[in-house]
Symmetry: C2
Subunit: 233 residues, 2 copies
């Protein structure tokens, strides 16, 4: 039974505003304005296969950790939440270095659209990097999937991010016509994407994040994130 090759097929590929691991949220639903769409592969590009899905507010995405899939698994990993100092068993984490490199995210379903016969599943609150392959889409069944009183060890609550994100008016003006990108950038940065060991220490580094159509530079002072530059890509 073990070591069996199971043939899995890619159902779709996500088009996401997150282009790299840095600054991509570590769980879904942290950045409401993180919009993305799944481009359905030709074999599944049939509207009937999605008939009825729009009556669900949320969906599960099962996806491949395509950036780390060829690196194999480790029995022990260092969850970022624990500052990178403590090791836990890989099955006690959502680490990408697992026996089968499959991830799981519940995201908001915005709509299903069709352009020139190509179906897109439009979602928000995503934590997936651009081009991540999706292997399944399932409806979120609230009565069995939602367990509000479950206890989740070190990940019980959202990680505390920055207190606020500040942006000078002249920089914000670049986004005047693009409120959605402004919200998306602010919501993403307020999570504090830095490695955990940088927290609660003086940090003068200038960070750069490619977020959607913008290259954003930012610095940290007293747990506030200051956006110091913004360039349209």
């Amino acid at each position: 039974m073990s070591q069996q090759a199971l043939h899995f097929d890619i159902v779709g590929v996500i088009e996401s505003p997150y282009k790299e691991k840095f600054a991509t949220p570590r769980q879904p639903n942290l950045v409401q304005d993180a919009h993305a769409r799944i481009k359905i592969q030709p074999a599944y590009n049939k509207l009937e296969a999605f008939y009825g899905l729009e009556s669900f507010s949320h969906i599960w995405l099962m996806f491949l950790f395509s950036q780390t899939a060829d690196k194999g698994w480790k029995p022990l990993v260092r969850p970022p939440r624990l500052g990178g100092n403590n090791k836990l068993g890989v099955f006690a984490t959502r680490s990408t270095f697992r026996p089968n490199p499959v991830g799981l995210s519940a995201v908001k379903l915005e709509s299903i659209s069709q352009e020139n016969n190509q179906i897109y599943i439009n979602v928000s609150g995503i934590d997936l990097i651009d081009n991540t392959p999706i292997i399944d889409i399932k409806p979120y069944i609230t009565y069995s999937d939602s367990i509000p009183n479950a206890t989740s060890s070190y990940a019980q609550d959202k990680q505390k991010g920055f207190d606020k994100v500040e942006i000078a008016p002249e920089i914000e003006a670049i986004l005047e016509q693009d409120v959605h990108s402004l919200n998306f950038i602010k919501q993403t940065l307020i999570q504090d994407p830095r490695p955990a060991y940088k927290r609660n220490k003086p940090d003068e580094k200038v960070y750069g994040s490619e977020l959607g159509a913008y290259n954003v530079k930012w610095q940290v002072k007293e747990n506030t994130c200051y956006i110091i530059n913004l360039v349209k890509l």
Copy 2:
């Protein structure tokens, strides 16, 4: 990217009291006394790989629909919840006939045990048939996985089962020393495992269900389930 063969490995195999599809709950957490254990495969039989998992109350099981995996997928399926009359897109359902035959269940984690060097993950509230292959175990992260206000179309609430399950004292006596099995059988049958078209109609059929160590025969009258025979296997 499509049609790519992805090599997946079996992490463990579940030992479940449900031996066949009939009477197996259609979602997890419906039958609290449905206890099972996952026997970890040799390649992953290392306690360290599970270190820290016991601090989570619930876990995700990703598993293969091994009984239907060779039957392929269908764009449209008939969810049992809709009485078998209405078709929905496969991605709007948890049907087993999907492009990648992978299922997803959140179950209660009871304990992790070791017997003669073999690791078992003990769980409850399961909806998996005996021998189902598990391909991943992930901790349930309450703040991102639990979305209590999500709306779930036709599956918003649990399906209404029988009003009660009755068992004659002389039959119940067979289980006198086995309260757990009694609870498990009653909780399973009260879901009403019959096909949806049998509901709310006169039904004189004698049903047989193999539940754990027992073969149970039952009949229905006015939305009560009567256990009429119980034989230890």
